[in-house]
């Protein structure tokens, strides 16, 4: 404060421009060290991961909840205000948030989180994506050019994202590098153990066949070696039609699947209809963490919900 006081008293002698510069410098430096890193996560799972990796060093906010489809969100003023103050943006990317994130970014007036900056972190950029379309044509439905963005459902990919996200947090907040490293190491040990546990628990459902509402479970399928036989949506993003459901019913009468899966944010009507007609259990799986839930609790819950009806 003394230094600043001297600075200011000196600058009074200087011209107004210089005074203004010092003032700007002063206000721009001030809050950077006083407050935790503001993390704006587009989806709850990335807020939860940031919390694991940053602890009290970060303050996280999720733009969506487990009950919202992250593809259909309004670019609300409240979100602009949040992104305005963010130090880092942690989102799935791969066009999942394309209907609203570009507007938020453009209106945020926040240079730190613009594309290409340190504060712009797209998790799907960090891992190999499945479902990369060979033909880009909208007659195929709302296809994602970069690949399927729902990577949070593969804990192995989550592990890779954790490492890269921790590195990014260290770049943004270099005064706490060792703390971030410690937190990452602790997380990895616990996560690895948990992965082993989940794999053990799901051994008996390997190879089981599932019907999904939307093609958002590919990473879970790959990880747990589940076999997707059909989708309730006739095309990605197009709601289930009666003709498509009738077709599925026929298919299920010939070779029934083991389980029908839909996300907690999706309309359960189609899944329940098919379930009733075929006696195949339909289950709402959480695509992401709920309020105040950790990644560990969420995956525990998901595995349990998935396993119980198949057994």
């Amino acid at each position: 404060m003394v230094l600043i006081a001297i600075n200011i008293s000196e600058t009074i002698q200087m011209n107004i421009n210089q005074y203004f510069l010092v003032f700007l410098l002063f206000i721009s430096i001030m809050p950077a060290h006083a407050t935790p890193i503001n993390v704006f996560a587009c989806e709850p799972e990335w807020a939860a991961l940031s919390q694991e990796l940053g602890g009290s060093l970060v303050s996280t906010f999720s733009a969506t909840t487990a009950e919202q489809d992250p593809h259909h969100i309004q670019a609300r003023p409240g979100l602009i205000a949040k992104i305005r103050r963010a130090d880092i943006l942690v989102c799935s990317g791969a066009d999942l948030e394309i209907g609203w994130l570009p507007v938020l970014l453009q209106k945020s007036a926040n240079p730190k989180v613009q594309a290409g900056q340190k504060g712009y972190f797209m998790t799907s950029k960090m891992v190999k994506l499945l479902d990369k379309p060979t033909i880009l044509d909208r007659s195929m439905g709302d296809v994602h050019a970069a690949g399927n963005p729902h990577i949070q459902l593969d804990p192995r990919r989550m592990n890779i994202v954790a490492k890269k996200l921790s590195q990014r947090l260290q770049q943004i907040d270099p005064t706490h590098i060792s703390e971030y490293q410690n937190k990452l190491a602790q997380f990895k040990v616990r996560w690895k153990k948990a992965i082993k546990k989940w794999q053990q628990a799901t051994k008996e459902i390997q190879g089981k066949s599932i019907i999904v509402h939307h093609n958002s479970w590919v990473y879970l399928q790959q990880w747990l070696k589940l076999n997707k036989v059909a989708e309730l949506e006739p095309k990605p993003g197009v709601p289930p039609s009666s003709s498509h459901l009738a077709h599925l019913l026929k298919q299920m009468q010939q070779t029934p699947a083991d389980l029908i899966i839909y996300s907690t944010y999706q309309d359960p009507k189609a899944a329940h209809w098919l379930s009733k007609k075929t006696n195949i259990t339909a289950v709402a799986l959480p695509s992401t963490v709920s309020d105040n839930e950790t990644l560990f609790h969420w995956m525990d819950r998901l595995i349990q919900l998935l396993k119980d009806p198949i057994k």
Binding site: S28, T65, E67, Q68, D69, H72, Q74, A75, R76, P77, G78, L79, I80, A81, K82, R84, R85, D95, I98, G99, W100, L101, P102, V103, L105, Q106, K107, S108, A109, N110, P111, K112, Q114, A115, G116, K125, M126, V127, K128, L129, R138, G141, D142, D154, R156, R157, N159, I160, K192, G237, V238, P239, T264, Y265, Q266, D267
Partner: protein, 457 residues
């Protein structure tokens, strides 16, 4: 007694010697034991060390194993940063809007009047029957680390001739400095709520009456915009714009500035399902010979003087969880007061009058989304005006005399959205813009090609 003593002595001697020999034995035993102990300790220590070494070895092996596992996993699942970039990666994003409609009117569209208002800009009705609407081509890209650029060209058919208009063409700094944004070029003003949205993003086929009455359709122009967003939890934005004054409802300029605006917006979430936004805006111009319509088609109304508009807009949205339903309520109010002179065709002609006008208009609309493919909505428009001047006949001919009539319009629409990229809309208007009530029916298609457009609030 004498005999006893030596016995006792000798006995005690024997005893002592015996004890001495026992002592040495114990000592020896002790030493042996110690040796044994040391030996065992050594062995135990060696064993312990061996065990520790073995444990450490397995630990390092485990660590190695984890590292190898991780490497394998990363090789399998981490993205390859050296993915070749597509050749057209630096090309701007392209989005194309195709729009067409069928319009049916009960009245003759050429006779359209908005009582109390003299219309200008693009305020005419769509042509009757089948017609191509405005096709929009938008190109946009980040220019460099500081600037973002966008151009929207509108292609329209005007009486058989194709007209290309530059709807917007601007460069913007998404982040100039901590909350500050600068925009330059041609753009739609941020006053009101609907104004800066392109027509294809509106919820009805036509603009609210008050937009048609005051701005021709939308307020835009060539200029500069500076806006600031406060670093607060509540969304607070303030901004100002300077325009050249070439576009209706401004006309002419003073040292290059034809009109200016100021606006403030507040907004927030009530919770994850309910959100709102409130806006206040002001527009002002010193107008020089603005041209607009007159009751007599062959004549032109001219206005010179001061013009002020104040506006209030409210938006509320309800987006319930785990549902594709949603509700949007929207209200906008505009009040314009003007003070100057009116002339028909020419200020040197005898058809001149002083003019003071107060014009107010508002609309309220509600849009309900039933599911991901169906939306429906209602809208109500209301306008009023009164004026006075030195020559009321001129004001009547200019269309600025309302005689207490208040234009109204009722609209209803139903939309079918086969996907996010297509929309078919049916709309009905009961239009009481003038005493000749008109019933209007529109069937409109809007298709979006190319880049997946993001929608503002």
């Amino acid at each position: 007694m004498k005999k006893i003593l030596p016995v006792v002595v000798s006995a005690s001697l024997v005893c002592a010697s015996a004890m001495a020999s026992a002592d040495t034995q114990v000592e020896q035993l002790k030493q042996q034991l110690d040796l044994l102990k040391q030996d065992y300790e050594k062995r135990i220590k060696a064993l312990e060390e061996g065990l520790l070494a073995a444990q450490q070895a397995t630990k390092t092996n485990e660590k190695k194993l984890i590292a190898v596992e991780e490497q394998a996993e990363e090789a399998e699942l981490a993205s390859d940063d050296t993915i070749s970039v597509a050749k057209n990666a630096f090309n701007p994003e392209i989005s194309l809007i195709l729009d067409g409609r069928y319009a049916n009117y009960q009245n003759n569209t050429d006779d359209y009047q908005l009582t109390g208002y003299s219309l200008g800009g693009e305020s005419g009705l769509f042509s009757e029957g089948l017609s191509l609407g405005e096709s929009e081509l938008t190109l946009s890209a980040n220019i460099d680390q500081l600037f973002y650029g966008r151009i929207t060209l509108a292609f329209a058919d005007e009486d058989g001739a194709t007209e290309v208009g530059i709807e917007e063409a601007f460069a913007q700094t998404p982040a100039l400095y901590d909350g500050l944004t600068l925009k330059m070029g041609r753009f739609f003003s941020d006053i009101g709520y609907l104004n800066n949205q392109h027509a294809h993003a509106w919820d009805f086929a036509d603009a609210p009456l008050v937009y048609r009455a005051l701005f021709g359709s939308q307020l835009g122009g060539d200029g500069l915009q500076l806006s600031y967003i406060a670093p607060t939890d509540l969304f607070m934005q303030v901004g100002t714009e300077l325009f050249s004054g070439h576009q209706f409802p401004a006309s002419g300029n003073h040292s290059g500035i034809g009109s200016w605006t100021a606006f403030a917006k507040l907004g927030d979430d009530i919770n994850a399902q309910n959100s709102w936004q409130v806006g206040l805006s002001h527009w002002q111009a010193n107008v020089d010979g603005r041209e607009s319509s007159a009751i007599d088609d062959t004549k032109t109304t001219l206005f010179s003087g001061d013009s002020h508009i104040n506006a209030l807009d409210l938006v509320y949205k309800w987006t319930p969880s785990a549902s594709t339903k949603s509700l949007k309520l929207q209200f906008e109010y505009f009040a314009r007061d003007e003070d100057g002179d009116i002339a028909l065709d020419d200020f040197t002609s005898p058809d001149v009058s002083t003019y003071k006008g107060w014009q107010k208009g508002w609309y309220a609309q509600g849009i309900y989304q039933l599911n991901s493919q169906w939306r429906t909505g209602l809208r109500y428009d209301h306008l009023s005006s009164h004026s006075n001047g030195s020559n009321s006949l001129v004001l009547i001919d200019a269309g600025l005399e309302s005689n207490g009539y208040t234009p109204e319009r009722y609209s209803a629409m139903l939309e079918w959205l086969p996907s996010e990229f297509s929309r078919i809309r049916l709309q009905y208007n009961n239009d009481q813009s003038s005493k000749d009530t008109d019933n209007q029916l529109f069937l409109q298609y809007t298709f979006s090609l190319g880049t997946h457009g993001a929608h503002s609030y």
